[in-house]
Symmetry: C2
Subunit: 432 residues, 2 copies
């Protein structure tokens, strides 16, 4: 197994009345059966392109020369895009850590941040990747219009082709039109994969490959989770179905309206932000959904744990633990050390992280808060791919259990239209 | 005014039944009267050192030579500490942006992150600041033990005095003992100011001054807010009291259990994390409190807005808008541009950010979600100091309204003790 999914401490049988009863879990698991069957059918029919990604390689082949050229030619790569066009890439790139080229994910339109970035870049050695599924995202287009003149000034006007790459859906769009006008190559965004489910497609894979990661290994990890989940005869044996049943069961039976994802691994902080979009946008509709919250162990023990333990009982917790025992620099106080610090004797920083994660998990459970732990023996492309697929499946199954469409986001249209009308000067808002 | 506090769109009279009724607001405001009176008395008696900070300068004078030496001598400064010993400094340093020396806030004990930092530092030109109020925080001590050997190897063993500075309470502690053994200078952490309220003390001011900020201006901004709030004859005229009354009123009347702070300013992202600790640890006790959530505009429109608009009605929103109209690079599509992009014509990135913030505020209000907007004409030390004081006062008043002690955090002790026992090998946990 690429990860262990330990969820017994979500159950009333183990943690008392804050947990889920066996009956409620049983009902939710039974309801998850059709969702799993639906996923099986969708994979066979090819009607859900996400499920076909793990066994594809043609799209990765198309990314390979771009990634190789970017790695060879550029010291810095700016990835333009927002939401699902950026968070997956960020989650993956965090695994690679600092390296060359250095990746900058520009996911906002703050003029100060953008100005500081432009001022700090060596533009002659900078490549750009712009990602927008629809090709009409205002933020992404604005980012591109903001950087192109500077890039052209540094590189010479005729030379945009090798410096900029676009990922967008086939078919006409402002972004594609712009790319064609400037001779910039486009890779196709799969029209059947929404932004928040696109991390394993070229949207995540290309930045990952530019960062030096093995995209095929990511997909192999995802494939292992998908295969195991869809092969399970009992939903209880499919961790993503079990996770969805726990969430939806706890919401129904215990009014658990918030779900905290708390990795004790800095490299998974961006992953938690990716998850936050996935869960919120997929489930938050028709009055349904629970609020995803990203936290970071151990640091948030000194920020959020007081509330988690002693505030309202409205949260479930998912801790992600990486086996770090014995890793990292020594934290031994030395021979002259304080007696009060004898607990640090012979220990490393990784031991401390490990002890913090175990202690928080145990304390939450002792106090009757539903908590599951995902344990990782290692963290690499395969394991990260597995985690990504786990949570995408869990989200899809939870949507099915809640009776909402996992794939749309109808509510955000209103403010998009309004923003464009403000910009066009069509209306003077009464907004505060 | 250093900021405008626009909260009418939290009221039922304006946004319908999702908002707070005038009656409930009236009751909450009346209840806030004694809290304000208590703050007034505490300032006069000097019983709450936080309230005396804005008019002090002796402690800043003590920081000045340290900051000057660090700025002159070091290319990089590592700030060790976690929770309230780090978040305030991070919130302030974000205002300064990138500069020299470069500040690294190490607030976690991830062995991989720490190893990568150590490998990347020019240790001969690195200074360290270690902050722990109690002087016994395991994470901070571990960070220090992990970096000292490398620092000594690069600098020579006798030369720690000028390279490391400690901020900790007076009186014996492991951190003070270590500092004294190594000849490292200590600045006193005010024992009457808890970590999450320490941002305006030397805990925040010293890193801020190292980053080149004007700490006196921060305090001037804080003083203006404090003076205005305590001078108000009616709590409705004290924005922090009004904010607290809205939060507590919405919790009581509308079961609003989550409060989202969403600045449309990247430089305030760390401020939102600082607020998250402040609100959670101060109120999350005895089953009380609401969950603080940090979001970032405009990017989270593509991640959380769907849930905010169409999910459960359990949230109130605070948007922070900075006037960025006309700021930043042009995003004009140019003469050959797409007709579909005519709304970008003649606009800048700052115009887009501004339109996004207005559109989101308006859309949340139109859909009946309680939302207030804090508008900033500029963002500098004085304004940031004002915001920090606003939210500290709001939190203290909210605690009073909820009947909890704003200043303690009793629940986190259990997991701290447990972690130490795991490390000492005293127990084999049954934690997952």
């Amino acid at each position: 197994m690429l990860y262990e999914h330990l969820s017994e401490t979500c159950l009333a049988a183990r943690i008392g009345e804050g947990g889920l009863s066996d009956e409620a879990l049983g009902r939710a698991l039974e309801a998850a059966g059709p969702a799993l069957a639906g996923l099986r059918a969708a994979r066979e029919e090819g009607s859900l392109p996400l499920l076909g990604l793990p066994s594809r390689s043609d799209d990765l082949e198309a990314c390979r020369p771009v990634a190789a050229a970017y790695r060879e030619r550029f010291a810095e790569v700016v990835v333009l895009g927002t939401g699902g066009s950026s968070l997956g890439g960020q989650a993956l790139a965090a695994l690679a850590g600092a390296g060359t080229p250095r990746l900058h994910f520009v996911d906002n339109v703050d003029p100060e941040t953008f100005g500081a970035l432009l001022a700090g870049l060596d533009l002659a050695r900078t490549g750009v990747l712009a990602v927008s599924k629809s090709g009409g995202t205002a933020e992404t287009l604005a980012q591109l219009f903001a950087i192109l003149p500077a890039l052209e000034a540094a590189a010479g006007a005729g030379d945009l082709a090798g410096r900029v790459t676009v990922i967008t859906e086939p078919g006409p769009s402002p972004l594609r039109a712009l790319a064609e006008r400037r001779g910039v190559p486009c890779l196709d965004h799969d029209p059947g994969i929404g932004g928040r489910f696109s991390v394993l497609s070229n949207v995540g894979a290309l930045p990952a490959m530019i960062a030096g990661l093995d995209a095929a290994a990511l997909r192999a990890g995802a494939a292992a989770v998908l295969d195991q989940a869809l092969a399970a005869a009992d939903p209880a044996d499919a961790p993503p179905a079990l996770g969805a049943a726990l969430s939806v069961g706890l919401l129904g039976e215990r009014r658990i309206s918030q779900t905290v994802l708390m990795p004790y691994v800095d490299r998974l902080a961006a992953f938690a932000l990716w998850y936050r979009q996935l869960w919120a946008e997929s489930l938050g509709k028709d009055g349904a959904g629970t609020t995803p919250i990203d936290a970071r162990g151990a640091v948030d023990q000194h920020s959020q744990l007081q509330l988690y333990l002693a505030g309202p009982r409205d949260k479930m917790f998912t801790l992600v633990r990486l086996d770090t025992a014995g890793a990292g620099p020594s934290i031994d106080p030395g021979p002259a050390g304080d007696e009060a610090l004898s607990y640090l004797k012979g220990r490393t920083l990784g031991d401390l992280m490990d002890a913090m994660a175990r202690a928080t998990a145990e304390t939450l459970a002792r106090n009757g808060h539903p908590i599951r732990v995902i344990r990782l023996a290692r963290l690499d492309e395969e394991v990260l791919g597995a985690l990504l697929m786990h949570f995408m499946l869990e989200t899809i199954i939870a949507a099915d259990l809640l009776g909402v469409n996992a794939y749309d986001q109808p509510a955000v249209e209103e403010s998009k239209v309004l923003a464009r009308r403000y910009l066009a000067g069509e209306i003077q808002g009464r907004a505060p």
